[in-house]
Amino acid sequence: MAEEPLLVVRDLHKHYPVSAGLMGQVKMTLRAVDGISFTLARGETLGLVGESGCGKSTAGKALMRLIEPTSGSVRLNGIEITGLSRRELHAQRRQMQAVFQDPYSSLNPKMTAGALVAEPLINFGLGNSAERRARVEDLFGRVGLRAGDMAKYPHEFSGGQRQRLGIARALAPGPTLVVGDEPVSALDVSVQAQVVNLLVRLQREFGLAYLFIAHDLAVVRHISDRVAVMYLGRIVELAPTATLFARPAHPYTQALLEAIPIPDPRRRRSRAVLRGEVPSPINPPSGCHFHPRCPIATERCRVEVPELRDLGAGQSAACHHAPAPPAATRETISA
């Protein structure tokens, strides 16, 4: 058997109890993440996409145990993360670091840039103060900041520079996995490109694996080796990037791709955009979560939950009707 991948996530759940009614007597469950499974190899980038509220950020935080998952298994380097005690988890945190969405709120305003980047080194007891300083200076250079800016406070930096700081902090303890929770969504488009390119370069330099959570398909397409599409807490399709964009198997993925604006005024849309709203994760539809909005839904979809099925060539989709009908429609559209 082949070596176990860097990260193996199996059936990860994160449920929140919700109380409703006047006295909170009605107990319901919000299924933010409702059983997702995927793997991530060393040095690979997995894009995790979906609409807001589909649970992609929650999934990222739950697998790092920044919020406690309700159930499921997360293995990093063959070590089960979910069962670790606080002390054991601390040791493993060095391996998995995070870059957050908002570069304004993710940096403590009272700490200098240098102190922020040095903090993980202190936490994991890496190096003495001179070595830490050298490491921070080196990281500043690698992410494109001047070492002279170490004494500055976060508010003295621009959004893009702050995100570079966040990246430097994530890289400081030498992780093998970096979870990017929409790391470029809050930035201007021109800055986004710079930061994405920086992430790609750093990945090569340090051999990092990225779990890249985003809603911008163009960015995900650029950076990812494989893409997982989430809908209402579940992964509906997982495929190599090229395959996913060329031959999406799940109707939801197809709808997402059709929503990408095409910069060509003569090209006409061949199909209606998705109808309706995303249903609430408190009371998700029966069977396939997507069936009320799906153009090809049948009775079976209303009743039976579709499993993530292997469609060959690394592609898998959670749809009873994949692959034949959706793949065919897609081809007639692009013709």
């Binding site: 935080k61 903090e119 202190i122 003295e156 902090r169």
Partner: protein, 293 residues
């Protein structure tokens, strides 16, 4: 070599900033001037006035302000100017001590309550209980249980102030706890003690310093109320409150005995409040940056 260059780079703007500080923050300057003068009068009282605040002079009773007695004299012939500036000692001592003590206790208890879930309801219910009693009533009750001295007045005023600080600190901690930078700090392996000291405390401190100045002002006032009600500092120790209280019977005959300590009291409270507002603007780095440009 690199250290030398950074040093010169840092020192120079600091000097420029310090010079600009006074003109850039006129409120702080004015408040500092006012409080400095009041504090100076109180500290150097023995060198400023030749009159002892306690010595009775029966022949000099209820004299209006004159060259000899700037603020006139009271019903026992004591010099009101001397009593007023000596009284400032007590008022300031009480204001500063109450502010320092209530903030210290409030920060420790409030941070523990905000950070440790099971402790929170206990701390909050006790504070709620304390807060439901009017501060002045609680202080009078505490004063009547013990003998009158400056220390007991300080304690009696501190106790009703503490729950207010606890509430403030707790609410700040709860807000800060939800900030992304807290999650980021946890993700980079920061443990609870460091989380509290490096991430929560500095972000609590700014609003707290401002709160401390308001507590200082209200403590000075509360001491005056207590003095006025006869539950404050012992009458032989002049404080602004008990000078006013003692002279209220003669207020129509000798307004000056009530007016001058009253004006000092008002100036001190004004100064402290102005300082609080100024410091609030100064300590917010985002605001400060904007003012600097």
């Amino acid at each position: 070599m690199s250290i030398a260059t950074t040093r010169t780079r840092i020192v120079r703007p600091l000097v420029v900033r310090r010079r600009g500080l006074l003109t850039r923050h006129p409120r702080i300057t004015l408040a500092a001037l006012l409080l400095g003068t009041l504090a100076g009068l109180a500290i150097f009282a023995p060198f400023i006035t030749e009159y002892d605040p306690m010595t009775l002079a029966v022949t000099q009773r209820l004299r209006p302000p004159s060259a000899a007695h700037w603020f006139g004299t009271d019903a026992y012939g004591r010099d009101t100017f001397s009593r007023t500036i000596y009284g400032g000692r007590i008022s300031m001592q009480i204001g500063v001590s109450v502010a320092a003590m209530s903030v210290l206790i409030g920060v420790v208890v409030g941070m523990l309550g905000g950070a440790i879930r099971w402790l929170d309801p206990i701390v909050m219910r006790i504070s709620d209980g304390l807060m439901s009693i009017p501060a002045i009533l609680l202080a009078i009750a505490l004063m009547s249980l013990t003998k009158a001295s400056v220390a007991t007045v300080i304690i009696a005023i501190t106790i009703p102030e503490v729950p207010r600080v606890i509430r403030l600190v707790r609410s700040l901690v709860l807000t800060i706890r939800e900030q992304t930078y807290m999650q980021a700090a946890i993700a980079s392996g920061t443990r609870l003690p460091r989380l509290m000291l490096r991430h929560i405390l500095p972000n609590v401190l700014t609003p707290l310093i401002v709160q401390a100045t308001y507590i200082c002002a209200s403590a000075v006032l509360l001491e005056a109320y207590l003095g006025f009600l006869g539950a404050g500092t012992p009458t032989e120790v002049p404080s602004w409150g008990n000078i006013i209280a003692e002279n209220r019977t003669f207020v129509q005959l000798a307004t000056w005995n009530v007016m001058f300590p009253g004006v000092f009291l008002a100036l001190m409270v004004l100064g402290v409040n102005m300082l609080g507002d100024g410091v609030r603007d100064l300590l917010d780095p985002r605001l400060a940056g904007r003012i600097g440009k």
